[in-house]
């Protein structure tokens, strides 16, 4: 409701408590700000004097009494109501009671029209006074799924970089003509299989026949491990199918989890950055427990993290599958059940980026309605283990699929963790972003907030973790107006096994992010540096709470970097241009990857071997 259309009220505020009148003072200020007429009495006046003052005030709408409940207080409040009735004050104004240990029931028993407890939102009291519905700050107000790219134009600000990127990405598109791969063929077959299963015009037996034929062709593009699963029911080591009983219980569990959830508001006064957490415990049941808890503690989005062996295997498994180690298996059924557990405003991203199943994962994600995906051929082929040529052709197809299914995608520059300097990883990042724009997709730039090997060696973070991270963001912003989502997770390589230190470093990096007003961040759990066991659910809450506190602490204030940030920014931008010039001069993006122009063995980047020699020509 528009504040201008609300009838302004006359409100008397009475701190019956001798000392605790802060809440009433805050409420008084908020009511005044909204144009209501208020009178705040001094604390601890005798009841007789209060009643006397009340009697003198005309056209009073509300009397708000604040008092902490304690010994004898109920009698005091009861006496106050009796006196107000005797003075006929109750006839003209509504009586409201608030304070520590006050409940709506107690207030009603004492004769008040309304009661508010100590944890009541001020807005709830104001809504009551204004006779309007209070929208509890759940999904209605702050849990709104937003499109991360929507506030960006993708316009270049650096024409030299724009020109170089144009040259490089034209070459990639030309190179890709008439090429395919087993991954692309499987993606096409997977899409057809899903279409068949969803085609209501087909009889069930026709669906079975068509699917069987498509599956047979699908298996011709798969590794032996996958073929064994489909033909002999043999699962890879440490993988098991959930039983039908477990699946039945899982569905009940999901329905229970969706009921009556109150969400914490993680941001205080800013609408950005969105906060993402990564799940991938290995087990879809545990994943859902992590997702629902992360949602409740304020995460805006979650993203699916799959096992590393999945990226090196041609083909995907089927069924609801549990895996004993890190990473949850990508299968249509696993992703579908996880999707069914999500709150409607939770942003869901399924990473497709780095392996031999990149296009097929994009198909499944798109068909299931994922909001985002993750694709990055440079990182995937230099530090993700996939052959550069194979991942270039597969990634290109995945980008087209991302555009088709309206999934913006992020590009993680995790090759920086291997030792690749930020400028080189940004050159690769921008190449893929430019390629995406040509293919009508929506890229999201994902620089790292990290203590990388390169900055350790160069000493750029010897004094602080702020300057270089700020420089990275500002460099990218000086080149293109694109969404920026630092990851992955923020503060990478600054975490220790101490949960206080770990939560704090995440929170401090979140503070840099909110200060820079980036679009989103991915945060770790406080178990980030603990590698001998699974991440605990409690450790997820640690960092969500810590980030909430950082956002509360900083509000709209900004973190001021030193003058070094500007120097580093110029250095990064210059480095990006130099790296792009070398790639453009080379005339072949794929060869540039093999030859280390975007990250060399000396930098800590090695062209992957998975899928080498599998690009299909013609």
């Amino acid at each position: 409701m528009d504040n201008n259309t609300i009838r302004k009220k006359k409100v008397l505020l009475i701190p019956l408590d001798p000392v605790h009148d802060v809440a009433l003072k805050i409420l008084n200020r908020k009511l005044k700000d909204r144009g209501h007429k208020t009178i705040l009495l001094p604390p601890d006046l005798p009841l007789e004097e209060i009643i006397s003052r009340l009697s003198e005030i005309n056209n009073l709408d509300f009397v708000l009494v604040s008092r902490t409940l304690g010994y004898g207080v109920a009698e005091l409040l009861g006496r106050f109501i009796d006196m107000a009735e005797a003075a006929r004050i109750r006839d003209k104004a509504k009586m409201v009671l608030g304070g520590k240990a006050i409940t709506p029931q107690l207030a009603a028993e004492l004769g008040f029209d309304k009661g508010f407890g100590e944890k009541t939102d001020f807005e709830e009291i104001i809504a009551y006074l204004e006779d309007r519905e209070f929208l509890r700050e759940k999904e209605e107000l702050f849990r709104k799924k937003i499109s991360i790219p929507s506030s960006h134009t993708y316009q270049y600000k650096n024409n030299r970089v724009k020109g170089l990127l144009n040259e490089i990405t034209d070459e990639i598109i030309l190179w890709s003509k008439n090429k395919s791969s087993p991954g692309i063929e499987r993606a096409k077959l997977r899409e057809r299989m899903i279409n068949v299963s969803q085609d209501d015009s087909l009889a069930d037996e026709d669906k079975v026949v068509k699917t069987r034929a498509l599956k047979k062709e699908y298996l011709s593009y798969c590794d032996e491990k996958i073929v064994r699963f489909y033909e002999k029911g043999l699962l890879p080591e440490k993988v098991r199918k959930l039983s039908s009983e477990e699946i039945g219980k899982l569905n009940i569990y999901i329905q229970q989890q969706k009921k009556d959830v109150n969400f914490k508001k993680i941001r205080h006064s800013q609408s950005l950055p969105l906060v993402f957490v990564q799940y991938g415990t290995g087990c879809p049941i545990m994943d859902i427990a992590h997702i629902k808890t992360s949602e409740a503690w304020g995460a805006d989005g979650v993203f699916h993290f799959d096992p590393s062996w999945g990226a090196r295997t041609e083909g995907l498994l089927e069924g609801i599958l549990s895996h004993e180690e890190d990473g949850s298996i990508i299968s249509w059924e696993n992703l579908a059940v996880i999707k069914s557990s999500l709150h409607k405003e939770t942003i869901w991203t399924v990473r497709a980026h780095r392996g031999l199943n990149t296009p097929e994962t994009a198909v499944i994600a798109g068909k299931l309605g994922a909001d985002l995906t993750k694709i990055h051929m440079v990182y995937g082929s230099l530090n993700g283990g996939t052959d550069p040529a194979r991942l270039t052709i597969d990634g290109l197809e995945a980008i087209k699929l991302a555009a088709k299914y309206n999934m913006p995608f992020d590009e993680p520059t995790n090759e920086e963790l291997g030792g690749v300097p930020a400028y080189k990883s940004f050159a690769g990042l921008l190449i893929i972003a430019d390629l995406a724009l040509k293919l009508k997709a929506q890229p999201i730039l994902k620089p790292l907030f990290c203590y990388s090997p390169d900055v350790m060696i160069s000493g750029k973070m010897d004094d602080n973790y702020i300057d270089f991270n700020v420089a990275k963001i500002n460099s990218l912003r000086s080149i293109i107006d694109a969404p920026i989502w630092p990851g992955e997770p923020i503060g990478f390589m600054t975490h220790s096994e101490d949960r206080v230190q770990s939560s704090l470093t995440t929170a401090l990096h979140a503070a840099i992010a909110i200060s820079l007003q980036v679009d989103a961040i991915t945060i770790a759990s406080s178990d980030e540096a603990y590698s001998r066991g699974p991440i605990s659910l409690a450790s997820r809450i640690d960092t969500l709470r810590a980030v909430q506190e950082a956002f509360r602490f900083l509000g709209k204030a900004e973190i001021k970097p030193t003058g070094k940030a500007r120097e580093y920014e110029k250095e990064i931008t210059k480095g990006i241009e130099e790296a792009l010039k070398k790639v453009a001069r080379r005339g072949s993006f794929v060869d540039a990857l093999y030859e280390g122009l975007l990250g060399s063995p000396q930098d800590g980047a090695y062209p992957g071997r998975a899928g080498r020699g599998t690009v299909i020509e013609g």
Partner: protein, 87 residues
């Protein structure tokens, strides 16, 4: 409550944080794991330990359920809550 295995309500693990009087980090580790053993936890690990001064600040984790296990809380989470309320 007496019939309820309260550990079934723990979603994954139980952390114990404390300060142990010891002469070295190694001794702190041994004591930490012994504490968990005496409490009856068979699958325990030291998540964090820092020895300084008179002892070690330590966080010890008992794994109750790992991903892929048959979770007690999942099996009957709602009935269990009712049981606790009624019991």
């Amino acid at each position: 409550m007496e019939n309820l295995d309260v550990f079934d309500s723990i979603v994954d693990s139980l952390d114990i944080e404390t300060f142990i009087i010891c002469h070295s980090e190694e001794e702190g580790r041994r004591i930490g794991l012994a504490i968990m053993e005496q409490l009856g936890f068979r699958d325990a690990d030291i998540v964090f330990i820092e020895f300084l001064g008179s002892g070690a600040r330590i966080r010890i984790r008992a794994n109750i359920y790992k991903p892929g296990d048959s979770y007690g809380w999942f099996d009957s989470c709602n009935q269990k809550r009712d049981y606790i309320r009624n019991g």
